[in-house]
Amino acid sequence: MSDPITPAPTETQAVGGNINPIENKFTDRLSHILSDLGRNGIFIALIVVVVLFAFLTDGILLRPQNISNLIVQNGYILVLAIGMVMVIIAGHIDLSVGSVAAFVGACSGVFAVNWGMPWWLAVILSLAIGAAVGVWQGFWIAFVGIPAFIVTLAGMLIFRGLALVVLGNANIGSFPDEYRALGNGFLSDLFGEFELDPLTLGVGALAIIALVIQQVRTRRGRQKYDQEVEPIIWFVTKLVLISAAIGLFAYALAQYKGIPVTLIILAVLVFIYGIVMNRTVFGRHIYAIGGNRHAAELSGIKTRRVDFWLFVNMGTLAALAGLIFTARLNLAGPKAGDGFELEAISAAFIGGAAVQGGVGTIGGAIIGGLIIGVLNNGMSIMGIGIEWQQAVKGLVLLLAVAFDVYNKRRSGGN
């Protein structure tokens, strides 16, 4: 700090009159828990949906095989949701991701099947094509200044069309095994055949240990800087609950085929993008731009550059989603990626992102995506038709955002 400025002599009252602090440990703790619950409302919503469908499907929802399926079936939506929530936080939207996924899936088919490229080369090239699509859209949005809605609406048509061109009116399949592992593979059996896969349990245990260490370190760091931390009881309770959830999840996967490759990809993405959004300058700039673009610009943030890279990122993630989807179906077809954009956007909004931008989290978007996934899966098990599934999902989106708006208004936000 260059120049310490001491307080001016004044004794005027705090903002908005007298705040009424009730000095009481219990109510303090309670208010902490309540505000935490408010913030984690989306998490609770997921638990409610899971419990509801576990009940409605007589427990089929929570069978190991189904839990594994839930991840694999929704992996590509979750990948898209990560990129989408970033785009939404910056105040944009991307309608093209479904078409881009289809286009890239088709390209990968040509590379890996028609041209017989090695699978890894096909994957790298496909991701590069996704990035190139992002460069194209990012250019129009960031440097020409055309609203993202228009550019990506155009992209939705352009890349759907190009996907059809690449496919040449035919499906492409079947893909090499290594490629298919992206969508269908499992990591297990490294130590031989067991009733319970030891690798999966080990990874689960490691995840819990890593989480505990990270949480404790964060807490210690805050305390060292004299920041307020949540009451220790609540902290421990939360940690125990989350650890138990991870443990049960790992146990379920271990009973079935082990860890899906898709889950590994997702975990890596969530970890990296979580850090990007919370701890890097780039991530902070995204929030700043979404919160107030003018103020961000006048604070020296290169808003165009951030916008541009956001769409390059989105394009790459859309490509990855396209690869996972194609790998899972073992087929690149013209209908691939249909409606993905809507599911990804819904996931971001259910996860608490704000339409005006500036608000949202990667974790929220993932949970939002999981809620949609559980709804899809649960209703399918119950034998509910696709038409009603659509309607229910629409209603859930509306209610989730309405709840969010209500919550904000109650807490006196803008």
Binding site: M1, D3, T6, P7, T10, V15, G17, S299
Partner: protein, 508 residues
Amino acid sequence: MTTNILEMRGITKTFPGVKALSDVTLEVARGEVHAICGENGAGKSTLMKVLSGVYPSGSYEGDIVFEDEVVQFSSITDSEAKGIVIIHQELALSPYLSIAENIFLNNEVKARGLIDWNKTNHEAAKLLARVGLSDNPTTKIMNIGVGKQQLVEIAKALSKQVKLLILDEPTAALNDEDSDHLLDLILHLKEQGITSIIISHKLNEIKKVADSVTVIRDGKTIETIAKADVTEDRIIKDMVGRDLEHRYPEHTPDIGEELLRVEDWTAHHPQDPTRVMVDNVNITVNAGEIVGIAGLMGAGRTEFAMSLFGQSYGSRISGRVFKRGKEIRMRSVSEAIDNGVAYATEDRKTYGLNLIEDIKRNISMASLKKLEKFGLVHDNEEYKVANEYRKSMNIKAPNVLVKTGKLSGGNQQKVVLSKWIYSDPDVLILDEPTRGIDVGAKYEIYTIINRLAAAGKGVIVISSELPELLGICDRIYALSEGRITGELPIDEATPESVLKLMTMEKPR
């Protein structure tokens, strides 16, 4: 019938955890202009929202008696039906609609279920004449200035057969000329029997128009003063609860070497590159010096500052900038920041703050690179830094995790200043640093400016309040029509001499 048109008795309004108003009493006599004074956050706006039905009856305690009748409004529509019209600080006009459309918005002139446009425009023209406007009623709102927009709001109020007109800081965004016109209009309306309540920070305008003044502090009525007894000192004392001996803190200049020199700075309008907005401006700022730029609204003050600050405004910008004698380039905001120049905008809410983000992240916004360690933002350090600023700048908030949107104007401004001070600049350009801020907080801002100068920074203060510039600056430039029309050291500057330069027109 009593002489009071309005009595608010024992009004208490509580928000969760906060008592915004406690047992407030307000009596407004028929046909008077009644001023309400109070610091930001004192409860003035809350009181007016109670009165106008924004907070419906039942959500507060106490009685409102309007024209000898206890009234209970459940919405603005109810209060307007009784003739109570409130004009908010942020004007509620739609920029893409015409003047006439705005005046009759939600009150459309209809014939057989359809809007009668001829009559609409005709009636609008009549109302405009009453407020002294001669503009065509079909002009779009975005094409007239803020001063005229304020008058359109009043015309709109007149169209609703207003008996009690409430103006919430009506002159906050106006220049002196427009302010005078508006105040004259309020007096004129008074002659026509319209009672007005005016909320204002500006003591001189209160003295000019008000027949009585009620001061509110911390949600309580302090006292109501009759016109004869109104003095600035008494109002200030009531508002802040203490004496403010000096409106401006003591400042002994310690002026050093030349810090910044701007030569032949010219900028054109961004949409119309033939229009010169900043015309060949030459200024210098020395270390430890507070330099004022005085100019009427539209003189090109903000345009000059923003075109200088990373070319954030304008087109076809030319001129040279020297820092400590060495030429520097500021083609982008980040280049300007790297060169040690900071610019705090006149419009905090639109250009200065991320209102949905907390104090901490707003302060770090322009200097995240300083907090970066191994590619990651050191968030605990960020918290610490922000907390230090919260204390040293006296930002009134329980902690730095409070969203800036919830702070009062003065505290928001302190956050903006913290942000720029943390970017460690040598030269700070402060554009209207005390606009919309109450007296107590103004003093604090002046103190901060003094400390910046004492630390060897060069400070440029742009202001439309002449007394403020005369009170804090060491030297004043006057700007008119984009040109510097003169430069006065503070001991030669008087309101008259500066004003003369500010209004000097281009030789034609």
